[in-house]
Symmetry: C2
Amino acid sequence: MFRTELCDLLGIEYPIIQGGMVWVSYNELCAAVSESGGMGLLAGGSMTPDELKKEIRLVKAKTQKPFGLNVPIIHPLSNDLINVGIVEGVSVISTSAGNPRRYTEKIRESGVKVIHVSPSPELAIKAAEAGVDAIVAEGTEAGGHNGFAEITTMALVPQVVNAVNIPVIAAGGIANGNGFVAALSLGAQGVQIGTRFAATHEARGHPAFKNAILNVRNTGTVLTGRAIGPVRCVRNNLAKMILEAEAKGATAQELFKIIGMGRSRNAAQNGEVEEGTIYCGQVAAIICELKSVSEVIAGIMEEAAAILGRLGKICEL
Amino acid sequence: MFRTELCDLLGIEYPIIQGGMVWVSYNELCAAVSESGGMGLLAGGSMTPDELKKEIRLVKAKTQKPFGLNVPIIHPLSNDLINVGIVEGVSVISTSAGNPRRYTEKIRESGVKVIHVSPSPELAIKAAEAGVDAIVAEGTEAGGHNGFAEITTMALVPQVVNAVNIPVIAAGGIANGNGFVAALSLGAQGVQIGTRFAATHEARGHPAFKNAILNVRNTGTVLTGRAIGPVRCVRNNLAKMILEAEAKGATAQELFKIIGMGRSRNAAQNGEVEEGTIYCGQVAAIICELKSVSEVIAGIMEEAAAILGRLGKICEL
């Protein structure tokens, strides 16, 4: 059911990739997603190479199914993290935040697939030219670090599908069967889901952090750092301070001083839900309860089949 | 084909509403959309009550099918415009930019349907409580005047569908069959399309204005006026000036001075594509050629059927 080209490319059952979320995506989440038929990703961005090695081995002890690793290219240790991924035998490396040209050949030559996350058709074309196997087209509604493009998933995915000849995975705004079928309708071969998987039992994260995601409604997330490096997060005290400074024309230096260091770790690991940064997508507004990973994936598939059944009937009438 | 509850409510063949676009939606466009099986809307916001009366009569001379009228509630003559619509016998009045409570009872008692445009679930609930017949849930990717909520269509539509018990129409990011099926997948009963209809032969508008829409790619639109009244428009000289002033922390007064008066009229009617404001949605990036209204609507329906056929096969595999 819902087997696409992406399933064949990655050797997975359902075309669902779990976004690699810093301080959240460790072996428990990654293994659970892969074991449930999707593609789990460890978040290399918040691990040392040694930690990453241990996490990869823990995932392998829990599942024999393929799983992967996200590495932000701008990370100072990106080369080391990628080397650990290759040596320890992940199936996929997802690259983001930078041009993947630097690493693509090495990764592919080792037999590992490369997926690159792009916020615009322009950057997707560059990644395709660099030789990646698939593109994640990530809309501005997505949580966490975001491109400067601010293109929404609805507008972005068809553009990227038109622009490249490799499978496109939609990200941003997807948490249930509605978003899944919408993404495929837009031409994607699969979806990458972050926030919904952050609100699972298997995700690492302080209970207060997960609750803050579940409590988001309406305009409960904001995009901060539009000029210096956009981040979508929960509209808490810290986020409001950043927005106020931005509205007053704060310089990059002033903004970095407010933002400080370790804010996303403080939120996710220590539950500092007002003074930390809670990376979170707009779609949190329809995420109301903590679930297990297997419930999330089975739910999406059931809802998707029901939606397609309903649309099939409307179409025939 | 694709007959939904909305078609029955409005007496139309396809669940496609043409957004009422100031300086663009006159009798030619409105009549063509309705004649092609959708719901055309005149843009009351850029007409005097007398002009509106003439336009309604011109539409009636061109089609016997239902059509409507958009009225921004904050417009100083909104009451008069609504009265003209009722007296001259439009089928639908679409209200936007304000709380529809003021007018809903009067409009409905006259036998005319009311559709309200909402950028957030909060405002959609208020409109439903005011008694409107349907809600347009408009995402931040939509062109022209936009709510402050900045919620994208992917994230917004499922929230509004959950929040109200009346049909929901998706707007923002929709220009072809991909967007149409995606919107229905998200739970909408239909779509409202603006920018794609602005780039038709039947739309009013200077050739340079229509070309500017066709030339949009990538990040070619921006949201200006985030703090004073958001407007999505083409990233031209004027838009860049506004964005620069905003980044420096300009006051509302300073911004209004830059924006001035008559900018959208200057763009649409006089072709001032750098110093005017070209209202335009992000989806313009996939709009590449001027078409006739009937081509647009037939194209969407054909693409939608093909997409559903493709998804049906994936689902069965």
